[in-house]
């Protein structure tokens, strides 16, 4: 069991991702397709860490699916990362909500790559160049996220 000094490991570490390249990762999504963040360069990525037991996460996901439909033609790609312990409940919820974007399972390694995912929901906005431009943790007014999302989509 590794231990580490506390103090700013989570939010400040996550904040330190701002204006830096998003940590690359590859996963296999729940449909068995390869998911490679690097391959999405040129798109604006909304990276959503969520879990089935997280009520605010569930409230946001249908909205993200709507944004994928609305803004997908402008270059938005939503990615969901489930932090559930097992894939079964995530699969059920993805099917129930009819999500139209790829969802993969996360783990502690991916969480630590993104500064420590120690509370949900956690959302990153990544610009077309692969740079993290915004981070939202906890219950966030969707208008705030959408405003920044639209600003990133407006950039070439």
């Amino acid at each position: 069991m590794g231990s580490f000094a506390a103090g700013g490991r989570t939010a400040s570490a996550a904040d330190s991702l701002l204006n830096k390249k998003a940590p690359p990762f590859t996963r296999t999504d729940l449909n068995g397709k390869a998911l490679d963040l690097a391959s999405l360069r040129g798109k604006v990525v909304l990276l959503d860490f969520w879990a089935t037991w997280c009520a605010p996460c569930q409230a946001e996901m249908p909205r993200f699916a709507a944004w994928q439909r609305q803004y997908g033609p402008q270059g938005l790609q939503v990615i969901g990362i489930s932090m559930d312990d097992e894939p079964a409940p995530a699969r059920m919820l993805v099917a129930k909500l009819k999500l139209n974007y790829p969802v993969a399972m996360g783990d502690e390694k991916l969480g630590e790559l993104y500064g420590g995912v120690l509370g949900l929901p956690l959302i990153y906005l990544i610009d077309r160049d692969g740079t993290v431009r915004a981070q939202f943790q906890g219950e966030t007014d969707p208008k705030t996220i959408e405003t920044q999302l639209k600003a990133l989509l407006a950039q070439p």
Binding site: M1, G2, S3, F4, A6, G7, G8, R9, T10, A11, S12, A51, W53, C54, A55, P56, C57, A59, M83, D84, D85, G106, D107, E108, G111, E112, G116, V117, L118, G119, L120, P121, Q137, G138, E139, T140, D141
Partner: protein
């Protein structure tokens, strides 16, 4: 009479405005679930600074600290010395918790925590807390983490460990 009505309407409008201004962000996501940590009485809650003090104090009054949320989040960071005891929102998790505490004296000092999401939204603490009370444990506290473990424990500089 007319003045009285106008005054009452103005008062109601002012109160409505005050309430709107104080409406928490979670209001737009709906009311907290009855099963959420919201159901745990205030006098059964423990503040993070108090738990930190207890853990650092010399003596035998240290509580058994159990995380009853996500194992993935536990693996990333958990309160130093705490154990993973199963997700309180799931039957299998409650069974794990029950098995862990069953041999303990009912006067054992136990602190439960989760920190997966904002306090009013946590689905794990309420059921876990209720289970221990139903089992007869009389010294059970729920650690009040208003936002999540990262914000309310790790960032405060309190001791943490990682790993499963």
């Amino acid at each position: 009479m007319r003045f009285g009505l106008a005054w009452r309407m103005a008062t109601i409008a002012a109160l409505a405005g005050l309430l709107a201004a104080r409406t928490p962000i979670y209001a737009q996501f709906g009311a907290p679930s009855p099963q959420s940590a919201f159901s745990i009485p205030t006098d059964q809650q423990l503040q993070p600074q108090e738990l930190n003090r207890l853990l650092r104090a010399q003596g035998a009054n240290k509580p058994l600290v159990l995380q009853v949320g996500s194992r993935v989040l536990f693996a990333q960071a958990h309160i130093a010395g705490s154990e993973y005891a199963g997700a309180g929102s799931q039957a299998a998790g409650l069974k794990q918790l029950q098995d862990r505490v069953a041999p303990l004296p009912r006067k054992s000092f136990i602190v439960l925590y989760c920190g997966c999401c904002p306090w009013n939204r946590c689905p794990n603490l309420g059921p876990a807390f209720n289970l221990l009370r139903q089992m007869g444990f009389t010294r059970v506290k729920a650690l009040y983490l208003a936002n999540n473990l990262g914000t309310d424990w790790v960032e405060k500089g309190y001791p943490v460990e990682s790993g499963r």
